[in-house]
């Protein structure tokens, strides 16, 4: 099993890195870009000791308590068989 965790800044939290990337891709000629937000992506390989439900609970907690800072970030967890 594999867990994928996506962490993004909450909407409303300034993302200067996203803004700089936005500016750069426009300079490179990419048109039609309304906004860029930069986030983080984690791939977590899970061994066979947990079932899907336990894995979801465990990774959700990891995402909430470690991988994201709830004051500024949101997260999303996906579990793949």
């Amino acid at each position: 099993m594999k867990a994928k965790v996506y962490v993004n800044l909450k909407s409303g939290v300034l993302d200067p890195q996203g803004k700089a990337i936005h500016h750069s891709v426009e300079l490179l000629g990419f048109a039609g870009i309304a906004d860029v937000r930069q986030g983080k992506y984690f791939e977590i390989a899970l061994d066979s000791s947990m079932d899907a439900k336990q894995a979801t609970e465990s990774v959700e907690r990891m995402a909430r308590e470690v991988l994201s800072n709830p004051i500024i970030e949101d997260y999303r967890v996906e579990i793949e068989a």
């Binding site: 939290v13 300034l14 993302d15 200067p16 890195q17 470690v66 800072n69 004051i71 500024i72």
Partner: protein, 232 residues
Amino acid sequence: MKFGVIVFPGSNCDHDAYHVISKHVGQPVDFIWHRDTDLSTYDAVIIPGGFSYGDYLRAGALARFSPVMNSVKKFAESGRFVLGICNGFQILCEAGLLPGALIRNRNLHFICEHVLVRVETSDSPFTNELQSGSVLRIPIAHAEGNYVCDDSALEQLQEEERIVFRYCDRDGNVTDAANPNGSRDNIAGICNSERNVLGLMPHPERACEDLLGSSDGRDIFRSLAATLAAAV
């Protein structure tokens, strides 16, 4: 009174803090390795600046899980004093000992320069030797010093007069132009409700010698020493 300076892998202002306490405050001080958990002999601990754990994940995020941090939490709950400088401030926020978070500077730059901060309250163990409204010249050196918090947290900080330092101009005016990193409400430093935990982005330990451009930071350490002396 005895001070401790906590050392994480990647701390780099630990020796500066040690120097200030031993030379300018003239009190005993130890380095405390982040795996140590016994803080029973200390009256105040300093969480110094640097790049603990390489700032991986988020600045201060991994240091919070070091064994010593559980002890720091209990130390703070017991009413003893915790001073977090720069990366130390980031760690205190990540650990939930102070509200809010520190994100990337609004201009993306790592900023290393002397800035001016206004002392917003002398009602703290860290500023009781200073005049409220006075302006200190202290260096900053950070990429993630942009203080953010939600509206209710800001309101609470303001109402309880827990904003201890604000970025300001030469005349002490708190303006956007004087805000180096985009911090909400020009916040440079805050304390907890009990006022025994202070976090600030500027480096007072680097502003304790005239030779280094400013000695305005000394009074912060001297305030803390005066607080401890009065408590004995």
